[in-house]
Amino acid sequence: MSVIEVRDLKKNYGTVRALNGLNLDVHEGEVFGFIGPNGAGKTTTIRILLGLLRKSGGQATLFGGDVWKDASPLHKRLAYIPSEVNLWPMLTGGEVIDLLARLRGRLDTKRKSELLERFQLDPTKKCKTYSKGNRQKVAIISAFISDVELLILDEPTSGLDPLMELQFQDCIMAAKKEGKTVFLSSHILSEVEKLCDRISIIKAGKIVESNSMAELRHLTRTHFTVETKKPIQASDLANIQGLYDVKVKDGKISFSIEADAIDGALHCLSNFGVRSLISNPPTLEELFMRHYSA
């Protein structure tokens, strides 16, 4: 079942077209990565999904309900972390967490204590004294404290330190285990790579790539660096199809290769006596760059 379904979504700000026919399908129970650089339309998409902005065209549904008309009842089933967390200067972090949790339903005080401990947030401080990272923590705790079916997270870790980022990733994993759906917008590719089952890459208001991580790995090239007993030349591998960026340096040969060609290349290499072999799996970054550097 699709939790989020978006068809041909368009959004104009005056004459500027922010979204230009965007499609998305997020299934129940998966962690979905929504990646793209700043200005590609990630936040606009999310704000439309939350009924904060009106769409200019197309369809968008959450749990089958209209994101604009049914906003309030739909929001009972989700928690949201905005990209820019702004809090009430005169309230304490603890008060904000309680308020947001109560607005979504019941406040679980035990879970609150756990999360405060986990993210090491002092809830007695006024929000105006919090740093960006601490404001982010308030939003993260308010999101994870509620027992909801869907988490919509817009660059949730942008102000967190690496330790807290790890805690955040643990929380995502736990949410996934509980069967919750996570929609994670990010430009931190390592995080997406680690957490997400499927991803979509957005560019200029359109999805340019949409696939499962496993599929993507298969589609992209693996990088090899090989040291051989017998000296090897680039020409020795010339008749293998699907081989790219071949370089020979210090008696080592390195190249990128398509998944289907790996077997043939290894056969060929073993004739030269392989002494060491380093293989780097395809990275999301590579894929991302391919869409964006073009």
């Binding site: 936040t43 949201y80 905005p82 702004n86 309680d98 308020l99 607005l103 979504r104 005080t109 007695t124």
Partner: protein
């Protein structure tokens, strides 16, 4: 070795100068404009010196006027002008100096813009030096402009110089005060709030001392009383200004000393912590709205209440005075019976303040939206209309509460000084009669914020200022009645008869304005702090 602490001051100064032009223009011109308006309003008022002297004698009899402005030193046009503009000018200059200083010294750090600048080739004390030069130069220029204006209007040079120097020194004193509080607090709002609080305390001290004609120890302490030590147009004892210059310099030195002792982004006073858990009832938009509005509503109620009580208290005195003075009495006569006229006029002035509160309360709703806090709330099941209503409620009930407080306080003050206790209901009903006109103003603000969110706040205040300008022009006889009656506030001006019809029509109009505002907000994009 060369002292690098002040390196880059020039560049920073140029950078700061590029921003905040509108505020700076007002800061530069406000005292000169006050001089112009005071001179041009006083000259036609008094045909002879005797009339002026009579007016002054009457004014001194009125403790409300004396408490606000102090006694007049010299009974002539220059003396009257200086007496009239001194307090307002100092307050305006003080606030602008404080805001400019805290913005540069604390606001920049708070927004971490300072970090970017400070990591460049900029000395540690360069922002301090640049902001000090900025304030000093602006104050001096303001002094020169005011001095030139006073000379152009034919006021004596000596007294004009004394008054302008008082303004320059007073402005600089508040700037260095702002520099100190910027070191103490880590948030700009707290730094400027603390400095403005001190300004308020200075004013309160002078308020309490204004009723005594002589200078006492407290007079030397508050800049608002220095006017009576320096005596512009009445002896011009400018020597005391040196004390002011010295205090400003000492304050600045203290600020510099404190600045050397703290880290970037840190303050000397750490903000208080609060509760770990929210109160059990803190669970919806209404509770949040109350938390956000109650402080300012209470402050407004207290301030307006105290002033209303004071005015009510002197009413009997003033109305007696008015009856003795024929020309003023006939002018005031259009506002009603002698014992009512003064109160009616004051009540209308307070109505303007309450209307301003209504626009401020609506503006708070907009700030919630523009600063991105509404986004977090509307991401929960909270409804748009509910969120909006939690703020709009204060534009509806807030003015009602304030007008009730004003009415009760005036009636109470009046009863204390021997006015009939039977007036109570009459005064209260007169106050509450203004309510729909204020609702109409708030309704316009809510409507504008809904339909034109980006410029709604500016438009609301512009419209409010326009209505007041129309009122002033109408009072001068430049605009016809019809123009003034088109404004909501014109409908409840003291010269207008109180009619149930007006009350109902304005109420109905307000309901329409609010309703269209709600529909408009429900159907538009939420404004975002950051749009991607």
């Amino acid at each position: 070795m060369e002292n690098l602490d002040f390196r880059g001051t020039g560049q920073l100064l140029r950078f700061y100068l590029r921003r905040g032009w509108i505020k700076r223009a007002f800061w530069l011109l406000a005292p000169a404009m006050l001089v112009m308006s005071a001179v041009s309003s006083y000259i036609p008022m008094f045909a002879t010196q005797q009339e002026l002297a009579a007016f002054v004698d009457e004014s001194i009899l009125n403790p409300a006027v004396a408490a606000i402005h102090g006694f007049i030193l010299s009974k002539d046009i220059p003396g009257l002008v200086a007496w009239n503009i001194k307090t307002v000018s100092l307050i305006i200059l003080g606030i602008f100096n404080i805001l400019a200083m805290t913005k540069i010294l604390r606001g920049e750090e708070e927004s971490s813009r300072a970090e970017i600048l400070m990591s460049g080739m900029v000395g540690r004390q360069a922002p301090f030096a640049a902001s000090a030069i900025l304030c000093l130069a602006t104050n001096i220029l303001m002094g020169l402009l005011t001095f030139a204006t006073m000379l152009a209007y034919g006021l004596p040079a000596g007294g004009s110089l004394a008054l302008c120097l008082l303004f320059v020194v007073g402005g600089c004193l508040f700037a260095s005060l702002g520099a100190i509080t910027s070191q103490l607090y880590s948030a700009k709002r707290m730094a400027s709030g603390a400095a403005i609080g001190i300004l308020g305390a200075f004013y309160a001290i002078s308020f309490l001392n204004n009723l005594s004609a002589d200078n006492n120890l407290a007079s030397y302490f508050t800049p608002f009383r220095w006017f009576f030590i320096i005596r512009p147009f009445d002896g011009n004892q400018m020597g005391f200004l040196l004390v002011g210059v010295l205090s400003a310099a000492v304050f600045a030195a203290i600020a510099l000393l404190l600045a050397n002792k703290r880290d970037v982004g840190e303050g000397m006073i750490h903000p208080k912590t609060g509760c770990r858990d929210a109160a059990p009832g803190f669970r919806n938009e209404w509770a949040l709205g109350w938390r956000q509005h109650c402080g300012s509503l209470l402050t407004w109620a207290i301030v307006l209440g105290v002033f209303s009580f004071g005015i009510g208290n002197v009413n009997t005195l003033v109305s007696e005075m008015l009856q003795e003075q024929a020309t003023l009495a006939s002018w005031m006569g259009m506002f009603g019976e002698p014992e009512e006229a003064f109160l009616s006029l004051i009540l209308f002035v307070f109505t303007l303040f309450v209307a301003a509160y209504g626009i401020l309360a609506a503006g708070k709703m907009h700030a919630e939206e523009a600063d991105g806090r509404a986004e977090s709330l509307l991401g929960t099941p909270m409804k748009r209309t509910g969120w909006m209503a939690s703020h709009v409620l204060f534009t509806v009930l807030g003015p009602a509460i304030l007008l009730t407080v004003i009415g009760c306080a005036i009636a109470g003050g009046s009863a204390m000084s021997g006015g009939g206790a039977g007036e109570f209901l009459s005064i209260l009903s007169k106050a509450l009669y203004k309510l729909p006109a204020i609702w109409a103003m708030s309704g316009i603000a809510v409507l504008l914020l809904s339909l034109l969110p980006k410029i709604g706040v500016a438009l609301s205040w512009s419209l409010f200022s326009l209505f007041i300008a129309i009122q002033l022009l109408w009072e001068m006889g430049i605009l016809p009645d019809t123009a003034f009656l088109l404004t909501p506030l014109g409908q409840v001006y003291p010269t207008q008869p109180q009619r149930a019809q007006t009350f109902l029509i304005l109420s109905a109009l307000s309901i329409v304005l609010y309703a269209v505002g709600f529909i408009g907000f429900k159907n538009r994009d939420l404004q975002m702090s950051k749009t991607e």
